[in-house]
């Protein structure tokens, strides 16, 4: 049985710029996070799989068919674009109704479906307002709603949480998880690891047009552990501290910056290393005034990984 989405040795370049470089990948059902920094090739990936771009090399299929300019395939997938673009003069209900009617629903059916989706996305009380008057969060929600109007099997979401408030974010994450549970294939692109992590365990890590890793979040985290983590420690006894750290097995590199009053340590096991710092500060009486980690959140760990 073929995969829902399949890339076979796919490259795509724009002039001299290589946006995707020899990618081979199969995506099955459920939610898959497409994770990478801006400019990594995520949008090119989605544009190729939705038939908006032609691969320079290789073959792309969705549900076993070539998506290139294949308008009939659009019945089976929905797309939430990254751009904050709308038919601004239309009301929310009109926008949804037009989108439904363009999928072949009659006027009555389109209106009913539109109302249902506006209700589900918390926009029913704003149905008669022009989209131009919607807040950023409301605009994001209606963008998501229009992609679901024809109950597609596959849904592509390009940075769907951009600009959403915390409540909208949580609701959208829940909705995406529900879609996954319903058996839909959902591809979510994002540049923020914890956002993707909140939706799915299945991740494709992409950077500079190449797939760095794919698999479960735990496997990706395992890869993260292979990379050293920077910790900056401020103290008045830098050389003595360095003597202690140099014997730790997880420390791979160290630089003393006496003029700036800190020690920069690279550790392969940041959690253990933090425990060690606390321990020696308490037990050996080191005066550690400050600890900094340039990559002390998941997002920067991710950035570090794709460097």
């Amino acid at each position: 049985m073929s995969s829902v989405i399949s890339f076979t040795s796919v490259s795509r370049w724009f002039g001299d710029v290589i946006a995707l470089n020899d990618i081979s990948l199969n995506i099955e059902g459920g939610i898959t996070g497409l994770l990478g920094p801006n400019g990594a090739g995520k949008s090119t990936f989605i544009n190729l799989v939705t038939g908006r771009l032609k691969p320079s090399k290789g073959r792309v299929t969705i549900l076993g068919e070539n998506p290139l300019h294949n308008y009939k395939l659009t019945r089976f997938y929905g797309f939430v674009p990254e751009q904050d673009a709308y038919y601004e003069r239309l009301t929310g209900l009109e926008f949804m109704t037009y989108m439904a009617r363009l999928h072949g629903f009659d006027k009555r059916g389109a209106t009913r479906l539109s109302m249902e989706l506006l209700e589900r996305h918390g926009l029913i009380n704003h149905q008669n307002k022009p989209v131009a008057a919607y807040s950023k969060g409301m605009r994001q929600r209606i963008k998501l709603a229009q992609a679901l109007i024809h109950d597609p099997e596959v849904i592509f979401l390009d940075e769907p949480l951009n600009g959403m408030d915390p409540v909208g974010r949580a609701e959208t994450i829940d909705l995406i998880k529900t879609l996954g549970k319903q058996g839909k294939t959902v591809i979510v692109s994002s540049h923020i690891l914890f956002e993707v992590e909140a939706m799915t365990q299945q991740i494709v890590l992409i950077n500079n047009g190449r797939i760095l890793a794919e698999g479960q979040v735990d496997e990706i985290r395992g890869l993260i552990d292979e990379y050293p983590h920077n910790v900056i420690i401020y103290s008045d006894r830098l050389r003595e501290l360095a003597t202690v750290f140099v014997n730790l097995p997880d420390v791979v590199d160290m630089h003393i910056k006496e003029d700036q009053g800190f020690l920069k340590v690279q550790s392969r096991e940041p959690e253990n290393f933090y425990h060690t710092i606390v321990k020696i500060a308490v037990e050996d009486g080191f005066n550690i005034t400050r600890i900094e980690s340039p990559d002390d959140n998941l997002q920067s760990v991710f950035k570090y990984l794709v460097k």
Partner: protein, 271 residues
Amino acid sequence: MEEQVRKSHRKQFSQMRILYSLTMRNIVKTKRTLFLSLIALAPAIITVIFILQRLTNTDSGTGFNFYTILMSTFQIRGVLLILTVFYGSTVFTDEIDRKTLVYLQGRPISGWAMIVGKYLPAVVVSSSLIIISTIICYVPLMWIDGKDAIFGNATILLRDLGAMIIGAFAYIALMLLLSLLFKKPVIWGLVFTLGWENTVVNIPGPIHKVTILHWIESIYPHVNVTNEFLAALHPSSSPISTSIQVLVVLTLIFLAVSIYMYKTKEFSFNE
């Protein structure tokens, strides 16, 4: 199998109608239409000036004569061209510029339904403005020649409108194609219509036949009037039936190439 094909065509016809409605919603109440309405009203303003002058000086000529000059110069070589350039070259590119094309690309709309669904609203809006503008000039100018002139010259009015509407179909199809081929299609369109068309159509010999304007003016009823100025503008005309056929064929070719361009072009935005 045939039944399936028929069903598919019916469905695409329905898609085209919905797209037509959506496009009309997006082009009627716009600043562009307001601006183009003012352009379309320019001949009416000239008409008012002529009538005021005529009230003080009866030697200014007949209303019909002035109407003929106005239509042959201002209306067909100015207003028609400007309206068709602006509507034809922006009706599709607006979707690209506003980044809303992505919503249409995500729906099961075939190439022809997409192009025709965008093309027809541009033709309808341009033609409506031309019809209103022409009637606003015609009625008072005929009125000053006597009430009978209004109905007596009605066939001239209808032929004027017919020629300009056929012209709108052809020019908008060409402008739509230009917008799929080039960036800044409005500038290309204005250079083509106000430059090439308006210049080459006046050149005697067969060369003026390479303009669309020649074929439109050949079905225009004012070309045979005895006026030296107008005679200089129309070196020679072609038979009406041939002219209509040429314009229909050109329109269909422009639309067919536009559909091909849409089906093969990449509209995505790069990262």
